[in-house]
């Protein structure tokens, strides 16, 4: 990420501004997503941003519910939605979603890039090539079908039943690696399009991961956007064999 120099003095803080805007957008989108609730077609919204209504402990209920929220500051910042039919606005919960799910996504993405830098580079180069993104998304979709078929097949066996969690774990790791590579690719795209100054690649990846988080918390469409990114990530990891430079080759089997 060293092919441009900060020409304008204002560009020196370009990355900080972009990251700040993405963070604020993430919190605002999470706020809207919480207010939209679990309505169709967003059945999994609560799994990403949580509920807008705070669960209060009752004498007969589980007293551990608020064990990790002793200050209960969030209870004082719940507002009625200005739009009829939507749930309450809970900015504290939105910030909490950003600092938990958003930070988790960023840390996992950066961790994958730190551990596998050369593999990530190889994968991103192939993602940025012509038709790279479409092929990754298509391969991800096919991989989901393949994984579902294999898991369903294994379900009807006893011997290989224990392999199912392993298959799921490998798929999850592959998808995470792919999402990390996509984050870096998005960061590089921001660098080129916005003509931002040179920066450490992990900062660019951080911005890319924030874009992924922002996509995931778009009301109604977020779950589908996240599913598309995860599928593309899985497909990218499979197509590039976890970013291997040699790729898939069966030459060694053909002697």
């Amino acid at each position: 990420m060293n092919d441009s120099s900060p020409g304008h003095p204002g560009r020196r803080y370009g990355w900080a501004i972009v990251i700040g805007i993405l963070a604020v957008a993430g919190v605002l989108l999470a706020l809207a997503d919480i207010s939209a609730g679990n309505r169709w077609p967003n059945p999994l919204a609560q799994s990403i941003v949580g509920s807008g209504i705070t669960v209060r402990p009752t004498p007969s209920g589980n007293p551990q519910t608020l064990r990790f929220d002793r200050s209960r500051v969030g209870d004082r910042f719940i507002f009625d939605s200005p739009i009829a039919g939507f749930g309450p606005l809970n900015p504290y919960q939105a910030l909490r979603a950003f600092l938990s799910n958003g930070a988790g996504l960023v840390l996992l993405a950066l961790g994958a890039l730190v551990v596998f830098p050369s593999r990530a580079r190889s994968a991103v180069e192939r993602l940025e090539a012509r038709h790279g993104a479409e092929i990754a998304l298509g391969a991800g979709l096919v991989m989901v079908l393949l994984t579902l078929a294999v898991i369903t097949l294994l379900r009807f066996t006893l011997l290989f039943l224990a392999v199912v969690p392993l298959v799921l774990l490998v798929s999850l790791v592959a998808a995470l690696f792919g999402i990390a590579c996509i984050s870096l690719a998005i960061g590089r795209l921001l660098h080129r399009r916005l003509r931002l100054p040179s920066v450490h690649p992990l900062i660019a990846a951080l911005a890319g991961a924030l874009v992924v988080f922002d996509l995931a918390v778009i009301p109604y469409a977020g779950v589908f956007a996240l599913a598309a990114v995860a599928m593309a990530g899985l497909g990218l990891a499979v197509v590039t064999r976890f970013g291997s430079t040699s790729g898939w080759s069966f030459v060694d089997l053909d002697w």
Binding site: E125, A139, R155, T240, F250
Partner: protein, 180 residues
């Protein structure tokens, strides 16, 4: 000019530059000595004759004309593989049909979720059986038609994946292409 005549070994060393004309340009007296030596030494003359004939033979060689399909072959090998793209798209249809059939057979998403929950329930039973606190879970009965559909879906998806991997930018050539 040197009084000592050139030895054959020295002539062999200088022969290449003599044949190329470099020696005559850089050191004319030495080239004249070479000429004298070659006139008197049959062995070195034969070497000289062979050395002279190699550049002439190389010049006499004509390049074989390229085959008519060369340009088209090169363009097809570096251009987008249209056949591969078409095949990648056409495979979506059987996959969609099989996936829809399997979903219908399993009674939709409810059936899929019951399979998922069954997997983890059976895994817990398996772990319990392993630790000696439970019974071995029983394998659910399954229709052959469903198994065939699942295997077909897995096979088509695997083949589809191999096509997409080949289409991906920077992919290695296939075994057949590598042999050719």
């Amino acid at each position: 000019m040197n009084a000592v005549p050139l030895a054959c070994a020295r002539v062999r060393v200088l022969l290449e530059s003599y044949v190329d004309g470099d020696l005559a340009r850089d050191d004319a007296p030495l080239a004249a000595e070479m000429r004298e030596h070659l006139a008197g030494c049959a062995d070195c003359r034969r070497q000289h004759h062979q050395a002279v004939s190699v550049p002439f033979r190389l010049k006499a060689l004509i390049s074989p004309p390229p085959r008519a399909s060369l340009l088209a072959d090169v363009m097809s090998s570096i251009g987008p593989a249209k056949t591969g793209y078409r095949r990648a798209w056409t495979l979506v249809a059987p996959e969609a049909i099989l996936a829809a059939f399997i979903l219908w057979y399993l009674s939709g998403l409810d059936g899929l979720s019951s399979i998922a929950s069954g997997i983890f329930g059976d895994l817990q039973s398996l772990a319990g059986w392993g630790s000696g606190t439970g019974q071995l879970p029983s394998v659910p009965r399954v229709d052959i038609v469903l198994l065939i559909a699942l295997i077909a879906l897995a096979a088509i998806a695997g083949y589809h994946l191999s096509i997409l991997i080949r289409l991906a930018p920077g992919a290695l050539p296939t075994r057949r292409a590598a042999r050719e």
